[in-house]
Amino acid sequence: MIHVLAAAATAVRAAGEQQMPSVLAVPVDELVVGIIAFLVVFGVLGKLALPGIKKTLAERTESIEGGLAAADVAQAEAQQLLDEYKAALASAREEAAAIRTQAQADRAAIIEEARSEARTAAAAVTAAAEAQLAADRSQATSALTRQVGEIAVDLASKVVGQSLTDDARVRATVDAFIADLEGQAAR
């Protein structure tokens, strides 16, 4: 079987070699096939497929460039907003500082006012106390004077009521009176 096949192959090869064209031959029909193949691909893609993608790529470039421009505008806007915000912040700080200064001045004034009020009140209290004291003292003095008179009368009547010979008793009565007087004064 194998030998038959090999013999057949050899026979076919021998038959083929006689009419075998060179590999460098250029048959016109193959040449035309190659040219047509290129022209079809070139025609179809050049007319139908590539113009669309060319346009799309151009549009994409444009939109990217447009996007960049828009981003620039947005950045400028953001910068402006930042500047405005910073300015507003600075003025707010200034205002706060002014308010603080004002508050400090106000506080000093309020303290001063309160202090003078307190001083006035203290003076009034002192004056009232002094007046009270003076009144108490005059009252005490008058009461004391009256009592001294009464006591003197009392003492005199007691002295008169007693024997005048008994000097020691008189002296003792006077001493007791004075002691009594002193005890009242101390009270």
Binding site: R13, G16, M20, P27, G34, V40, G46, K54
Partner: protein, 275 residues
Amino acid sequence: MSADVVLASGGLACHLMSGCGFPAPGAEIFQFNALFTFTIGSLTFNVTKITVLTAIAVVLICGFFLYAFRKPKLVPRGAQNVGELGYLFIRDGIAREAIGEEGDKFVPFLFAFFFLIWLLNFWSIVPFAQIPVTSIFAIPVAFALIVYVTWVPLGIYKQGFGGFFKNMMFPPGVPKAMYILLAPIELISNILVRPFTHSVRLFANMFAGHLLIASFSVAAFYLISASVVGLLGAVASFAVAVALTGFEVLIQALQAYIFTLLAAVYISGALSAEH
């Protein structure tokens, strides 16, 4: 014999110990039988696996980018993100880089080249496709031809017929006597050699890559046999084929990029005098 015939003919029954020589893959793996043919005028078209893979690639690229860019949004979602990545790569990485501000007009032209060539290269590692369409010489030749008939008339239109050739053949800053040597070299290198190198660079890279992967894959299969050396060799060959496949992924994108970048450089030279 063509690639389809190799697969179908029983060549795969050939192993190390079966009295069979190593069936090294050759030019035949780049030949495909016509699935059907049709004729337009005097030209007969052989519709092969190459034609079918090219058509599928065209449909996939058009389909994907039409879907990705169907309703482009300012904020991209899903497929639009991927599509934009590709668009910006072509616009910023190739058009503006090589041509400058004027490059934006050429973005669709370069875009179509890059993605078409990349996908045609990519078939190399797609199961069942497994052939880089650009390893069929006519395909890179067709592409280089389109670039050639774009930049030459563009240069003549922009710089005038005399100016175009004068700027090309007599670059400034060279001693006058040198022009005797330089002028013919510049003319030949730009007008004759340039389209040839432009197409061969792409073709040869993909051709060689595919041949390498095919060789190691065939070797891995051929070496499977009842011997230690054969099995070790099979495993090693398979590993190399896998590694080369990974490497090809890089080469596929790189060659698509180089072809497109060179197209942009040629256009840039046509728009204004180089140097």
